[in-house]
Amino acid sequence: MLGVVLCASAASAQLERTADERFLFWPAESPPRPLAARGVKFPPYDMRTLRNGLQAITVLHHEQPAVSMRLLVRAGSVQDPPGKVGVASLAASLLDQGTVTKSAQEIADHIDFIGGALATGSGSDLTYVNVVVMKDSFDVGMNLLVDVARNPAFAAEEIERQKQQAISSLQVSSNDPDYVASVLLERLVYGFHPYGLPNSGTPETLAAITRADLQEFHRRFFVPNNMILAIVGDVTSEQAFAAAERAFGDWPPAQIPPVTVVEPPPPTRRIVLVDKPDAVQTEIRVGQLAIPRKHDDYMAFDLAVKILGGEGANRLHRVLRSERGLTYGAQADTEARKQAGHVVAETDTRTETTGEALRLMVDEFARLQRDRVSQTELSDAQAYLAGSFPLTIETPGDIAAQVLNVVFYELPVEEIGTFRERVQAVRPDDIQRVARQYVRPDRLSIVLVGNAAAFVPQLQRVGFTDFEVIPIEELDLMSAALTRETRRARSFESVEPFGPFVRSGPLAYAAQQVNPHAGQAQELLKRVVDAKGGIEALKKIRTVIADEDRAIITPNGRTPLPTKTYVIYPDKFRVDSLLGGQQIVHTYNSGSAWVKDLSGVSAAPAAMRDDFAATARRDTYPMLIAAAEGRLALRVLPEEGRDGEVLKVLEVSGAEFPAVRLYIDRDFRIARQSYTAGGPDGLPMKIEEVFSDYRTIDNVAVPFKASVLSNGRLIIERTIKSVAFNTRIDEKLFEQPL
């Protein structure tokens, strides 16, 4: 009991509790002043490097009689061999499943009986072994730790068992919208860089992993000069370092092989809908490539992202939850890793509010990039980040995590001590600068996992018209098109899946998000433009008149549709067709569109008008010119095998230019192109156009034959009868038809 006499205070304690009276009698007042502030010191820790290169850290804490050990190996899925995603993860799961001297069961019996715990795992850049024991089992714990790290048996039976576990787990997680949304977002942001691939592998890659792969991974990367060991808890520093020396000291160092990975692509607008018809909510992820952890702008960028969606600020939470009740939670995080980093905003909302929630999220990215943040808003974010520092050093584990973090990312150790000062030093100008430099609202990767048929019309209403839809059971992160269908089409190709776009060594990072492969993509584009006739020839084209024999293909047969097309670049076209003797006219003129058919003349519906606008922009000549002049983003995707030929894939995209993929043949001609367009039923269609019979007109290569496929089904065939460039065309043709 308290040894203090309590004053039965305020008469208010006797008040009758009725709602109104409570309000009446309760004082109106401001929050109380704080007490005197207490000093915050980072608790003592010690660091040494053993002769074999192992970095050891000790943090002493004597409140509870326990010691924990954390071993980090600087190798994770980034070090997975090409085509064998999941090696690091499978190796980590096998570390405690038997060593050369102890079976899996013996290890489990041992650690469980002493009241300890042992956990192993891996991420993209690291593998870990964590052991916690009571202080009187410290040596036992250390011996077990080094044994599982150094001498894993990788027994065939255990490999089989862990593979089965991993594959069954994937079967569950591939049905979990939250998991699917997160891995797919990373896949869109990082492409085929290992950060974009699922750490735990896929059923196919796991099946392909052999015992030799695991042993090789272990042999190459599990060396003491590639490890950090933290010993934390109720021991003395001398005891801890002596134990580290005894357990790890005779493990010889070795050369660490450099990593070989594909670069992440530049930020590109891409929206992927994963269709799960029984979902009651849509998982939304919006993200883009940003900066790695060890980057000078990290602090300012992290604060900018906290304003967008972090603790202490969080515009997303306010807009989506507090103001509109659209979600239980919305936040944004800086995921800054070793080689690269990204920003990701996430929320989940009911199917009916998907479009609204997505629009608001994307608008917040745009606002962050466009508008200067106020000093007040920044101060709130800073107050939380700096003020909560003492909350982040409460337990020995927390303290160790802070030290491990700076050592792992090779940051200056002083950063821990100067954290609060560095937070407070950031100014609104800094936020504005990093937001402008790194935030690309026009190039966001967007993932929606949910009942796509139900929310697609909402997306179109709020201005998202270009997206891909993939049924959840067909999603395949290892395929360029993200679907199993294409994967099968690719399976006969003989080329290495990462094609020629592999480079060795640590990744260089430009301050600006310049596409490290921009040169390569530019080079490919140049070849395509040259094959087309050269940039000058393309620029000379002002108008086009073409006569075509078209046919519409339906399950019921072919319907002829002779067509005459008129184009004035950049934004006027007219298509006259004859359907069963009846004239049909479609015209598009700088944003306006009309239709003339049996029912008369009318303004085109919005969806059709938007589709016409997209068609005008997508026209090959202006698209190639814009790309050559750097007004559109380019990225090279893995090559694809089609009909026995390997085609290079170049993706062209821009702020107002939904991505078009060009499939390029060995003569650098465009053999196909694909894009997503709004279909008549409001659902997106994946359109593919296949070009052939190239002939030269005015020095420009023109495909005289083309087929159009919608979602894989042939819908149109066309053959050019005649084509003429730069003929004068009466502009009246593009006005509202009579």
Partner: protein, 449 residues
């Protein structure tokens, strides 16, 4: 008979010898918690525990009301109300509680269980007055605004969709409890049903606040870097002026009648792999049988060497994941085992294997080695779950609110260490009987019956 007995003795002797050679025999004793407790004149219970190792303080308010206090047709209300506590009070603007706390570098949140609703904040130590002032303000003068209520109800519905409806196995617990209980409110999940959330009204909010959010029904626990005398003075200043309630907190919760025959059900859900559940009704938290039941949970599923992990996951590869453990709460609850069935295995085989584990506990009991292992693991959990101020506050408040005896926060350690193999076998025989059993097969859609 006689011979068997001798063999048993001999085996027991061997086991003891083996244990003696093992590196650890008795569990390491964790340090005891230091605390003071008092009740303010308005009936509010206060627990103070100083810890000066880091300059932070944790303040938690436990209201002794949870989903088991809900009336039929209003399931989910306790939790929905928890959300309303962030919608402003006389001196605090709507949604400002969280931002005020974060603006001083603190964190705050709340959670609702079957038995309690807990509001907490961890802040730099010198902001203790702020935390107490904020909690007192909303205890005394919650603002109840129709528009805010409607919006928050949508937020809670999203929370239900997110946590329960939209992820594989999210509804498993809801399915288990719906089948296992007939009348006790544990039958329904804390988050409630969509229909009941929709039916909740603003009048319910006012009534709930008046009934349950009163000082006599609140326990405030403060752990961290403060001076106890000063903390008491501050708590008295802010929380002490919240007026007493005019009426008693209702305690009329229907009792669950004992089961007479086994209940079985097959249901379908859109989950990728089948789940099999074997559940038994058990006793309440604090009952002498609850301790051997905790030990039983560890013997079945703590660590890879535990029985269910080893036999069903490792040896037989029947389950992708599996466990068996007691959900031990203020009122009698369930002990249940779950197996997520591996492809190629059958739910029938999984059920048989789970039931066999319970039968084995009854017929063969557990070994002293297993008991010792469970006790060592228990000591580990005890130690590692008392590292943070928040952890300590949780143990102290749980003992005070659920056991109504704060000494159990430390005293339970000794009860666990004194538990015998006979105790474990006795409770197995008491509860793990066929007539007290609920068996569920939850199959992927389109594969049932």
């Amino acid at each position: 008979m006689r011979l068997t007995f001798r063999i048993a003795i001999a085996l027991a002797a061997c086991t003891v010898a083996a244990v003696a050679l093992a590196p650890v025999q008795a569990a390491v004793r964790p340090p005891k918690l230091q605390y003071q407790t008092t009740t303010l004149p308005n009936g509010l219970r206060l627990i103070l525990s100083e810890d000066h190792s880091t300059p932070i303080v944790h303040v938690a308010v436990w209201y002794h009301v949870g989903s088991k206090n809900e009336r039929p047709g209003r399931t989910g209300f306790a939790h929905l109300f928890e959300h309303m506590m962030f919608k402003g009070s006389k001196n605090v603007e709507p949604d400002a509680h969280t931002s005020i706390v974060s603006s001083v570098g603190g964190r705050s949140n709340a959670y609702t269980t079957e038995d309690t609703t807990v509001f907490w904040q961890t802040l730099p130590a010198h902001y203790l007055p702020l935390a107490l002032w904020l909690e007192a303000d909303r205890m005394a003068t919650l603002r109840v605004d129709e528009a805010a209520f409607r919006r928050e109800r949508e937020v809670v519905k999203e929370e239900r969709r997110m946590r329960i409806e939209n992820q594989p196995y999210g509804r498993l617990s809801e399915i288990i409890y719906d089948h296992a209980f007939a009348v006790h409110p544990y039958k329904h999940p804390t988050i409630g049903s969509m229909a009941d959330l929709e039916a909740a009204s603003i009048a319910d909010v006012r009534d709930f606040h008046r009934t349950y959010y009163v000082p006599e029904n609140a326990t405030v626990v403060i752990v961290g870097d403060f001076d106890a005398a000063q903390a008491l003075q501050l708590a008295t200043q802010y929380l002490g002026r919240v007026p007493k309630a005019g009426r008693r907190v209702p305690l009329d919760i229907p009792k669950e009648p004992p089961m007479k025959v086994e209940r079985r059900a097959v249901v379908e859900e859109g989950w990728p792999l089948p789940a099999v559940v074997v559940a038994y009704h058990i006793t309440y938290d604090g009952h002498p049988d609850s301790y051997p039941l905790h030990i039983t949970s560890k013997i079945l599923s703590d660590g890879q060497s535990a029985r269910i992990s080893r036999e069903l996951i490792y040896n037989r590869r029947l389950c992708l994941s599996a466990f068996g453990s007691g959900n031990i709460t203020e009122h009698p609850n369930l002990f249940f085992a779950v197996c997520i069935v591996q492809p190629g295995q059958t739910p029938e085989a999984a059920e048989k294997a789970l039931v066999a584990e319970f039968e084995k506990l009854k017929t063969e009991g557990v070994s002293t080695h297993e008991l010792q292992r469970a006790q060592n693991q228990f000591a580990r959990d005890y130690i590692l779950s008392r590292e943070t101020n928040e952890d300590k506050a949780m143990h102290l408040a749980h003992a005070a609110v659920i056991h109504n005896d704060i000494t159990t926060a430390d005293g339970e350690f000794d009860i666990f260490m004194r538990t015998t193999v006979a105790d474990v076998q006795r409770v197995a025989k008491t509860y793990f009987s066929e007539s007290n059993r609920v068996v569920l097969h939850v199959l992927p859609k389109g594969t049932g019956r």
